[in-house]
Symmetry: C2
Subunit: 205 residues, 2 copies
Amino acid sequence: MLANLPPNTVERLSLYRRRLLNFPFEEKPFIHSHQLAHLLKINPAHIRRDLMLMGFSGDVHKGYDIKKLIKKIGQTIDCKQIQKVAFVGVGDLGRAVAAYFNNADSRLKIAATFRLTEEPKTQYADVHCYNISKMKSIIRKEGIELIVLAVPPSFAKEISKTIISSGVKGILNFTSVHLEVPKHIYIEEYDMISKLEKLSYFTNK
Amino acid sequence: MLANLPPNTVERLSLYRRRLLNFPFEEKPFIHSHQLAHLLKINPAHIRRDLMLMGFSGDVHKGYDIKKLIKKIGQTIDCKQIQKVAFVGVGDLGRAVAAYFNNADSRLKIAATFRLTEEPKTQYADVHCYNISKMKSIIRKEGIELIVLAVPPSFAKEISKTIISSGVKGILNFTSVHLEVPKHIYIEEYDMISKLEKLSYFTNK
DNA sequence: TTTTTATTGTTAATTAATTCACAAATAAAA
DNA sequence: TTTTATTTGTGAATTAATTAACAATAAAAA
Ligand SMILES: NC(=O)c1ccc[n+]([C@@H]2O[C@H](COP(=O)([O-])OP(=O)(O)OC[C@H]3O[C@@H](n4cnc5c(N)ncnc54)[C@H](O)[C@@H]3O)[C@@H](O)[C@H]2O)c1
Ligand SMILES: NC(=O)c1ccc[n+]([C@@H]2O[C@H](COP(=O)([O-])OP(=O)(O)OC[C@H]3O[C@@H](n4cnc5c(N)ncnc54)[C@H](O)[C@@H]3O)[C@@H](O)[C@H]2O)c1
């Protein structure tokens, strides 16, 4: 359980949980590996293997107890205490992610959002939206460890420097800008266009 | 070049292109594998291998000619003719992706967007925004092949049925809902929260 | 009761992805 | 001219991810 899980397993466990939370488990409290696999379009052996890595067991006939599984995934991948997240840049993308995030059950908590001006709104995702100039002090005061960065590309580099010097542990970078970060900061990037272009390539054979 | 490239290579080639398009190649027309690798935080051998798979060669001392490389990536991963894309759901997320998309250079073209009502705006990303009721006929009339789906979860299943029956080839599904699609339709899903939860897991060791 | 059927847990096998390592090439330095 | 230093291109090695396979189990059917 405390063993180091492979990155892909961690990501899948998170996906299993989200799907299961949307599953009518009050009526159907158990699920088989092939059923969950079907929902996620992956191989059933994958699921059994991932759950095994967590040390989670199902019933050989009933399958997996969904409530227990959701709980176990939490114990495995969630941090022990609440870990605070800030959104830097709350335009279309930041707002979409923040809203989506607020529905998700986990031990991550949005503690602040930052943008250039405080107007016209001072709250997003039920937390205060501060002017970017207050970012460093608030990250420190609140003990924010994770950042979702979604500012316009032209500001990304400059803002990332402030973020890094505030002592965060991880950044999910949505800007397409290369950020120079020290090794102890974990950075994850994502590009939706590359997904679309991949889709295009493979639909054209 | 027409060889089947590994999925991860296709995705990376797209990323290389986006980074290179943001690179000042008018002043610095060549780039070395280790420089590009640094920008993308990957291994230089990775880059050399991916370019080799495309059949692209660099100069052993100057490195890779950036303009030529961008062109070669296009010839390799872009479709031959323009391939049309529609955005179904143009809320925060759909708008963010559509706007980002419009900056990106490729042979994909947003041909229409759809949402529940036509008000208050009838254009997004410079194309007309139609009422969802017109989706099927417009997908067919325009020959739209790819869909970016970003509607509220409660509508996703129903809307996906219409999309499928319209004869598209691929769907990039941002809703967290399981969609039943026939095998000949390529579907790609993405979940930002699982990325954040992964970030959380690995920043906590 | 016995047989059939289905599913888990797990090891082994396979496949895919990544990285290493180095020959070949050649510009720049000595 | 000769040496040194780099960097590409690529096969080989390694590592990670995925899938197959099946013994063990026990419910359900016969
Ligand atoms: N990776 C992807 O797939 C992807 C997809 C869409 C958008 N993007 C990128 O995400 C970023 C945000 O996109 P968007 O559509 O939400 O943009 P947007 O213009 O709607 O929002 C930008 C946000 O950043 C804030 N901001 C602007 N300047 C700032 C500053 N100096 N300091 C702090 N905050 C500032 C604005 O107040 C606003 O909240 C862009 O960089 C865009 O290119 C990436
Ligand atoms: N995968 C992820 O990481 C991720 C992240 C954020 C949001 N999401 C999901 O993406 C979707 C969109 O999120 P959002 O924040 O943009 O939501 P939103 O409410 O801002 O936008 C929804 C859009 O869908 C349109 N719509 C509503 N009902 C419709 C119908 N019946 N037919 C056609 N269009 C309809 C609306 O007009 C609007 O344009 C949601 O399902 C959300 O859960 C996923």
